[in-house]
Symmetry: C2
Subunit: 182 residues, 2 copies
């Protein structure tokens, strides 16, 4: 946990609607126990997908993947691996871009992220790369082959998904304290 | 996880209202993502207490302690330690009494409990003993001193608290499969 002790929020983002997971930077976002109102991943329940093998696909289960966080350092490493100028948080569908977290994706499940504005999130583990963001990356940078290369390059650098412990607002400039789960 | 592979539901219980945490056996209970409707611990949010030191007491935070589960084997060990005939799940405010789980309280956080009726719960860790149940035990058995002796005797045997992953009904006779978190 010490490795991410200087975390700061660079930007906050949300989807425009539920048709695409591409996110767009906002001045601030509201975070509720069910997620970010209006965002594609908002909801107390969501259908189980291939990552939840305990339930048949489509079974409504508790949604613990409302908020996606990526770090500037890990995005830079993905870009470097792919040989592209940058990887934007928008293409990853991220809701929060932070700095000061070169090993954000390794943050243990159950770790708490306490934002200086009062909002509190629970780390639910690494966000496993899928082809969706790769498609956005390939389209944005106009180079074929990036789609599948992205999955490889993003492994272990794709950031984390979080659920909400303490509701509130999130905005750029906030600092983040990381604590063990209670 | 192997130690609890033969788990079975002996009874399901809920509080009568929110004035006491004493529970009462039911034919079945409904389990929603916010908990058991009508039960004292129902709710998406609950006020932080002394166990959540990251937030000032009373701060509304996500409720991940809706369902309390105890095992017949651990209750028998508590009773044996105290030298009393039995410890009833009602006195502990338990919502589910299972058999076949002599080490239920050691079930790791994040483990899944998959009930044969389709309901799925997430283990949120050991339920730390407090004086509340000890008071009920002392009153029910009419022996002074049990209140504080209970806390000692119940340590590591008090069962677990769970949140809800898959909504559904719970009833006696169901079997429970324990799986690692996904």
């Amino acid at each position: 946990l010490g490795a991410v002790s200087e975390m700061k929020v660079l930007s906050v983002l949300m989807t425009r609607d539920s048709s695409s997971f591409e996110t767009f930077a906002m001045q601030s976002i509201r975070v509720e126990v069910a997620g970010i109102p209006g965002d594609r991943h908002y909801g107390l329940l969501r259908p189980a997908d291939g990552r939840q093998k305990l339930y048949p696909r489509g079974t409504p289960i508790a949604n613990r993947r409302q908020i996606s966080i990526v770090s500037a350092e890990e995005c830079a490493r993905i870009a470097n691996s792919l040989g592209v100028p940058s990887i934007r948080p928008e293409w990853l569908g991220a809701n929060v871009l932070v700095s000061g977290a070169p090993a954000l994706s390794a943050l243990p499940r159950g770790a708490r992220l306490l934002f200086s504005g009062g909002t509190g999130l629970i780390c639910e583990g690494e966000n496993l790369p899928c082809v969706g963001p790769g498609e956005l990356v390939e389209r944005a940078l106009g180079r074929s082959g990036l789609r599948s290369a992205f999955v490889q390059a993003a492994m272990g650098r794709r950031g984390i998904v979080c659920s909400v412990e303490k509701e509130g607002m999130l905005a750029p400039g906030e600092t983040v304290r990381v604590a063990e789960g209670s």
